[in-house]
Symmetry: C2
Subunit: 355 residues, 2 copies
């Protein structure tokens, strides 16, 4: 027999109070500030709670000005390695603080993001974390009007209107590109994420191309492609490009997912990494180190961001009057593994031409 949830009348604080022969107020205090109720009374209440299976209703607290204990996280996607480590850390850090996480994914659609923020407001989340710095005006207005403490994650720009905890995406792009340039690569395929609704991808691309420009490198259109954040699709896109466009000596990948796609693209074409092709990613996602050869990449301190974000938001909730200045730019680190080499001595044909 399948059990159905017939929510009969659940025991309330009054029931507990009656059974423990105290007033509801005392029961409330027992939960919110146990120290101020006498030991004997506490015991009586504890018994009553156990016997009745009472579970307090946090939803109601929000009415009386209290907090709901839930914090909203609005994220582009969960279906991906990109944010999973941050997600996990954020979630368990919140748990440590006795909060739960409400999560919503908008699929890289900022219009949808606005809807989600509204929906989360209806749930009266105590705070809100968004990914990125680029958002619809209505999203921001909504958050401001509701007075919800909020933080922007994963991207960093100093002096903004909102607390932000992230890293410099342009720098990330620059670091990865410069590594390739320093190795001597002059013909690089820039495979970055779609930039629509994604300021992180845009930043990295900008940083990378800037590094190329400064190194005196002209990057023709054929060497800039947009890849979805999906291993198989990236693999296909890059494989097609490697076949058609004359072979570059290196691939700059906008993140590790794309880089992993590039690895497999190379494997499928019999192109050896790093001997024939160097590949660098950004992210250092779980598993990137397991690849053969290990993926050279720029490590994003995902866990750190998740932890800092959780701490910051809880702080903002608990001391609403304090004027914290939460702007954390987490340091990036170039992780050199095995996918990047100096290009072979043989000079390749000019980009765009055929070998």
């Amino acid at each position: 027999m399948a059990r159905q949830g017939k929510r009969g009348r659940l025991p309330g604080i009054v029931d507990v109070a009656n059974r423990a022969k105290v007033s509801p107020a005392t029961v409330s205090r027992y939960f919110n500030d146990p120290d101020i109720v006498r030991y004997r009374t506490r015991e009586r209440i504890r018994h009553a709670v156990e016997e009745l299976g009472y579970v307090r209703n946090r939803a109601v607290r929000s009415m009386v000005g209290g907090a709901t204990g839930s914090i909203g996280l609005v994220i582009p996607t969960i279906d991906n390695a990109i944010f999973s480590e941050m997600l996990q850390t954020f979630s368990s850090a919140l748990a440590t603080h006795g909060r739960t996480m409400l999560i919503a994914a908008h699929g890289y659609d900022l219009a949808r993001e606005a809807v989600l923020v509204h929906s989360l407001s209806e749930q009266r989340v105590d705070a809100l974390a968004l990914v990125g710095l680029e958002h619809r005006p209505e999203t921001l207005v909504q958050i401001e009007r509701q007075g919800i403490p909020a933080a922007m994650l994963w991207n960093y720009r100093p002096g903004g209107d909102w607390p932000c905890i992230g890293f410099d995406n342009e720098l990330a792009g620059r670091m990865a590109a410069e590594h390739l340039l320093a190795l001597g690569h002059r013909d690089i395929l820039f495979a970055t994420g779609e930039e629509r609704s994604n300021d992180r991808a845009a930043g990295r691309r900008k940083g990378a191309l800037e590094a190329a420009r400064r190194a005196g490198l002209a990057v023709p259109d054929g060497r800039r492609i947009a890849c979805p954040y999906d291993i198989r699709m990236s693999k296909e896109t890059i494989a097609r490009n490697l076949e058609d466009g004359g072979r570059p000596t290196a691939v700059f990948a906008g993140n590790d997912v794309i880089a992993q796609g590039a690895m497999f693209a190379a494997a499928s074409l019999g192109v050896r990494v790093p001997d024939d092709l160097s590949i660098i990613g950004i992210g250092d996602f779980r598993g990137s180190d397991a690849f053969e050869p290990g993926l050279t990449t720029v490590r994003i301190p995902a866990r750190r961001i998740g932890q800092l974000a959780a701490d910051a938001l809880v702080e903002m909730i608990d001391w609403p009057e304090a004027d914290f200045h939460h702007e954390h730019c987490c340091p990036l680190e170039l992780i050199v593994r095995g996918t990047c080499n100096a290009p072979g001595r043989l000079l390749r044909s000019a980009p765009g031409g055929n070998a």
Copy 2:
């Protein structure tokens, strides 16, 4: 200047009512059943709502017997490819139904799961989804007492007390093992997940070993190892085993993460897949098809499970009296790609011995 959330008094339904010159009751109806309020009145309310930036408080509804609109999902881990597709589908399916998802991860710790369920109860989730069929008694008691509609995901056993939407893990294990056996493998390394707090891993292992037994295969202890669900760690564990234990002709991996680890382990040792070693996984996670060669695996219909689960729970919420019998056993499918071959003609040494 960082904006802080100073939640002054937010406009309430009464403010809207005053401004629109109607009663709060009418505003309530405007939101919950717009058709019964006259067009002109509706327009007035709409204006008032917009001007005040009113956002209704769903938390309060739960008090009056209404629903909070949030549904809890309790999952072993988010930090992993395993559940991400299900998660994503579940979440967006819920969004379609106008609900949001509260998520909590327990890290394969059933004691912690009980705590999470309690916490979710405090939030008055309208329904609850758990992964697996094995849970602490107190978890189940909690759910029953609270009368929360609940479903168990990812594993299937007919005739249980609870609705379940999943698949037959034993069958999955059997299918994968039988594929290897049918190809002629007699020396197989069984690398499965830790079974503590994980009935899915236990089921798969059981199914696989049963298939082996039926095929008249003795599986010595050295050919059964437990792997963490982590690519790098699986890679290391399996690489160590391949080096030390005499080379099996195939690896049965308890899921695709382990299988991917096995792929890299083989690559790191210069073992060719599938010529020298066949590998089969379970899951068909995103990206498994991108591997070179493509990973042969048993596809888990993750998206289907997520969708069915969302629909089932919403149904149970909306018709609490109806007695649905939600038991879905989703079909599995063997996906043959490139990682499995018949074993080489050369007979290998007996397991445990050295080559």
